[in-house]
Symmetry: D2
Subunit: 431 residues, 4 copies
């Protein structure tokens, strides 16, 4: 977790304070359920809740105890006892450490997922706003980096919107995947604890019971979660790459926002670098790379080995914090993106109307000219334009073999031809 690429809201989820608070809640909810079963006294459960809720857990103190007992959960329970006193012996009855650790991870991941979902909502809102704003801003569509046919800048953004909406839906599914609770004992048999405890804790913590755990919650759930983050990060990279392309000196159709003050940072007024979107490209690589270790974590040995733990200690915070930061940064970039429709038009004009050559070709064939002749006619008027020697429309009008009236030709050069279905597409995307 790099502070530079972290937002406090997400980082807090992974703080020791938050973790210990969740641990307490899991233990305390378990006590409530155990008291209901008559395994521990009702009074004890109450007392545990009362005192624990008010307790201020001291991370340094817990670390100190852990150094001694070499066990994180025991260290916490020892510290907890310092607040609760006698009744602390009723805490953690019949449970194993993994019950607490794995359920806590589920809580942290679901909270992280909720933040990410909110991030995506904000991003979707920004994309929608800008898409509608630029629904009719005509710009050249490019395949292979080469001018193809006109599209609109709004359509580009609508595409991004639809992509992140898919990402959001996948994230919801991935969130459901890791929202389970396991309080099932050393090998998942509930030998020492009744399944109803798991059900109660799950409900209270906003989770569902893991249908069958071993000692741990199965890691295919987490693998799917992190893989999904990797795909979303790749969509971040896609939009970031689009901005980077459009901001390059020769294109300059958009720019990341810069304040007046910022502009002054260099003597070169053109040196406005798309550093935010470049940064997003790098962050995408990081998040995506974490999918593989998560998948390798699935094949734990028998009822569990602890190899997944170190992986999750790193990628749990790193993947969620990094993607959260990236989504928020991307939202800011898109929300404030400077868009230059005149430059879009100028770039389109650079090819002197050549992008309409296909339509002219088609129109000629429909007039009865053979495909070969049509091709030859178009080409002999296109080549000079390409060499910078004339305007395509003018040359065509002047070519008497081109059996199309000036009005017909002008019609073929109408950009409206290319944008006539924009509303249809917008309706598909935004409803």
């Amino acid at each position: 977790m790099i502070p530079r690429y972290s937002r406090p809201e997400m980082a807090d989820i992974w703080s020791p304070e938050t973790k210990f608070r969740i641990w307490f809640e899991i233990e305390a909810h378990a006590c409530t359920a155990l008291a209901k079963l008559g395994v521990i006294p009702e009074e004890a459960a109450k007392n545990i809740w009362d005192k624990g809720s008010k307790a201020k857990f001291d991370v340094a103190r817990i670390d100190e105890i852990e150094r001694e007992v070499k066990h994180d959960v025991i260290a916490f329970l020892t510290h907890l006892a310092e607040f609760i006193g006698e009744d602390s012996r009723f805490v953690h009855q019949g449970m194993t450490s993994s019950d607490v650790l794995d359920t806590c991870l589920s809580v942290q991941l679901t909270r992280a997922a909720d933040l990410l979902l909110a991030d995506m909502d904000a991003l979707l809102a920004a994309l929608k706003k800008r898409a509608i704003e630029h629904k009719d801003t005509v710009t050249i569509g490019r395949s292979h980096g080469i001018h193809a046919e006109p599209t609109t800048f709004g359509l580009k953004l609508a595409q991004a919107y639809a992509e992140f909406e898919r990402g959001r839906m996948r994230l919801e599914q991935a969130r459901a995947d890791i929202a389970t609770c396991a309080i099932s004992g050393a090998v998942g048999t509930f030998a020492n604890i009744d399944p109803s405890v798991e059900e109660h804790v799950a409900m209270e913590m906003g989770l569902v019971p893991e249908p069958v755990s071993t000692q741990v919650i199965p890691r295919d759930r987490h693998a799917q979660f992190f893989a999904t983050l990797g795909v979303i990060a790749s969509s971040v990279e896609r939009l970031a790459t689009e901005v980077r392309h459009l901001q390059r000196t020769e294109v300059l159709e958009v720019e990341e926002f810069f304040s007046e003050g910022q502009k002054g940072s260099s003597a070169m007024p053109h040196k406005r670098n798309p550093i935010l979107t470049e940064n997003l490209t790098g962050l995408a690589r990081l998040v995506r790379g974490m999918a593989l270790p998560a998948m390798e974590n699935v094949a734990l040995w028998h009822e569990r080995d602890i190899s997944h733990s170190s992986v999750e200690r790193m990628i749990g915070p790193d993947a969620t914090v990094t993607l959260d930061f990236a989504l928020v940064r991307l939202t800011g970039v898109m929300d404030k993106l400077l868009v230059y429709p005149e430059n879009m038009q100028a770039n389109m004009d650079k090819l002197g109307g050549l992008m309409h050559s296909q339509r002219v070709l088609l129109a000629l064939t429909q007039k009865g000219v053979s495909r070969e002749d049509s091709y030859r006619l178009v080409q002999r008027n296109a080549m000079p334009v390409w060499r910078g020697e004339g305007v395509f429309l003018d040359l065509l009008k002047a070519d008497e073999d081109v059996v199309l009236s000036d009005a017909e030709l002008e019609d073929l050069f109408d950009l409206g031809y290319h944008t006539k279905h924009v509303d249809t597409i917008f309706k598909r995307v935004f409803g």
Copy 2:
């Protein structure tokens, strides 16, 4: 695609013959829609269907044409014209190659997904059968490779069942993700073709229209698909690893099936190697590794670049063929797995009942013995057992400080304590 790890059903989906047949269907359905719109004659559309349906496409001939025209779709259309004649000029009107290529890929991937779903159904059936068969086959649960508490072999299989059921659900979602059709032209604006054509082709090919395409169907869909295959492959690895562990000489609780004939292959009767599950472990690495290139494919430049194409030519067939083979192989392994309950019992017995030490400890504290004293009592009887000097239960009975009657002690050693919730868990998993 390695023939050794391919099943013909899946390989066929990726054959040139299948591909050209799908291309034809996309083109022909588009003709039907275009005819309905009056863009091309009804008769032509009919003729295209009639002649094309009966045509036997000649892959070598298409390759030959492609070498000349350097374009795969044009090569195909040229060959198609050899069957259809004059009316062939109505084929592909207003379409771009990507319309055909991307929609074809969607058809291939959905068919591949359907095969994989069927594979998973067969695997789930095998797992369920064996799980029920071994619901009460007690075996030791292991954490860290070390004996922990008893569980049942059926529970191990129920866990695998639940995991693959999750995988199946994710695969269904991933299938939906790549089941879209794009017939939207050079930059996705429908400039040269009406959106209703896309709708018609989508419906006929079992797809839904891509709400907003560029020149291509966005690749976040494919990334999610291949990532999901990677997670399922990791689950394959998990179960394969379990079998490999259980088959090792010192454990020998299960074995991959071997026929009488096979046994004869070596003079060493013990040399039955878990080569199928080892193989599955390797295949999982392959499928998982393909998720990354798929994610890198997302950030195409502007309305498309063609960098994704080579990646998909390889991982499209390789990931689906390999996972299909792996799932079928795993199903065979699990279906015919030789299970040795006596060895499971013998392994459990090796530790002379030490796995019950926790219960004895608990029982002592419940009798009012302090936690420290209980611990000391248990330990002094456990250590000789660990050194191979005695049976735990006997030693405890003989220790007069252990304030538990023989009956009570025997009760604590009852395996039923550990299996009492197996039915509950089975109900959760199998309903």
Copy 3:
């Protein structure tokens, strides 16, 4: 292995025919060594060489036998016996299958490495030629896609040259890493075969003996090999990406070669797509993605498990064939790359000399103007240029607060300032 992205030279290395030929050579060399040790008759060894050398192994026949005996090496030996007769019983004495398989893989990988090294030599030659050709072709250097300071196109190529030279050196090291031979028996102890046999076979096959094998050659060697291919592939991507950028419509400083005929493929003369370099970008993703499964192959269980085998059956051919194809394709692209110095100049001119603003600023401060004032002076002349209202040099000359003579100003706009060390750098790179 996709035929479309395969060259026969490399594909042949991985053909069954080649494999069986190598197997024969390993077996026959082992026989020679065994005969020298007196383990088998000299005559037999001679006979095996004689008959085996002339034998035409029948792949279909071997496959047929394998289907029966379920063992590839035994199938081969059975077929070999059909040529050799009686003496075939002396073949494979004291050896295990892995001795043959692993040593064969080493031979295949070293041959593949040799082809790749030759590919890199050809690429380096092309890069050097074009670098020297364009040593002084001035072009704008870009950071963040934004114009920065001038450089030369030759320098760009010199950078690529140096990068691939490093790649070549790493590949040589990686080749050495996988050039070992193991003939050491079931667990690597030479229990049934003398170490001198390994030494002999190694020498004859162009390998060195593996100092300590288990049943197999350790897979860290292969992991390093495939990781190195991944890094080289990433360098391919870098240069390919540069070409793609420079070919985009608005930049057009270079183009992939197109023949006159090819140009005719479209009515749009500008629609020359950098499809070769886009393809190379995709191929790089594939090769790079294979590094991970290769690393996962390292941790085989105990003296060996066979999980690595399926991975290598796929990535052995795929990584080498794909990288071979990519390097040759890249060599062709660079060798024939169309370079447009006028466009490079025109792009540089687009900013009206603003790239020299830093030098002007520095010169003013050296004239005693304060840094703040210098900055203000430069900026007030730069802003109109940026808005397209004037030429930077002219404005500066006309600004009387700019205390630099016309000659001094012209000197500051001299491109030679930026290229004065090009020779130094070329000397560093090309010697």
Copy 4:
């Protein structure tokens, strides 16, 4: 960087304090070279060294400045000026931020590499010591997890030694790969700074000049570095996996060290979990996973984009810190590993001598018995042993068709047969 998996020696390399100190040294060495060239006054260079060397850089203060100026290097230079005064204007003359940042990264990575090399030396020493100690400790070799033929525990360790020695050599090469210095300006042309400055700084910082940089040092160097760490991490995983296997309850041939006190942590004396080596397995996944983002970093756009930066801010520290921790932990595990030769013997004995069946078979054929008959004879004596009904040697002696004397048979059961070349192998490995 997870504190739990960090050693201070390595973490310090990545602290802000260390970074700023290196930045200062780079700037100050550049001043020395610039003074020698007469670009800045000798006195100024001296003063910069004097005051800067004694300065205590205040990280919080630099952060505060950075928040204002939004540029890390400028923030540092501003803070530096607070110590140096007037002469600070001579610092950073003609340099760009990347000159400082990239050269600093080279210094950090080489220092990290030096620590890792020292780690590997310690690991190699531990492995050598234990290998020699157990050179003749006979244990069963296993392929596929199944008993194969005897080997020695020393040989297992010799294999690990040879593997890490290779890793060490590769790391040295990787260290050389990232040990370059670039002080070459905005696009690498040395327009504003003489190449001799680079040479001086390189020499003083223990680096070599980068032959040709753009704005940055090319990232193929770093990709190779991180890929090499990934391969070494995979070797860590291999040895860790071996320990995990050997420690499992049914095998118990080795155990991770546990102190007397530690043993007391549970009532179950057998519950000694190989948690250190399990942890190492997870750490290997993490380090390996970082190779991919590093490879994706290679293809920066044109003369540089900043996408690599965020990746390196994370994997620079994370990969080196994690591998350092892993190597030191592994060294501790191997150094203190508890080895149980009696259990090794007992495990070998479990199969009642069946591992010698191949030798018996061979001996029979050498006595003139046909291969088929030999096979039948061996098998009929092996099967009862496998069923637990007798000892192989006894049965063979009693079988009168087995035409081998008791002495001959006993000889065939001699373990010395399998260990006769151990010295040869040790000589190969340890010299």
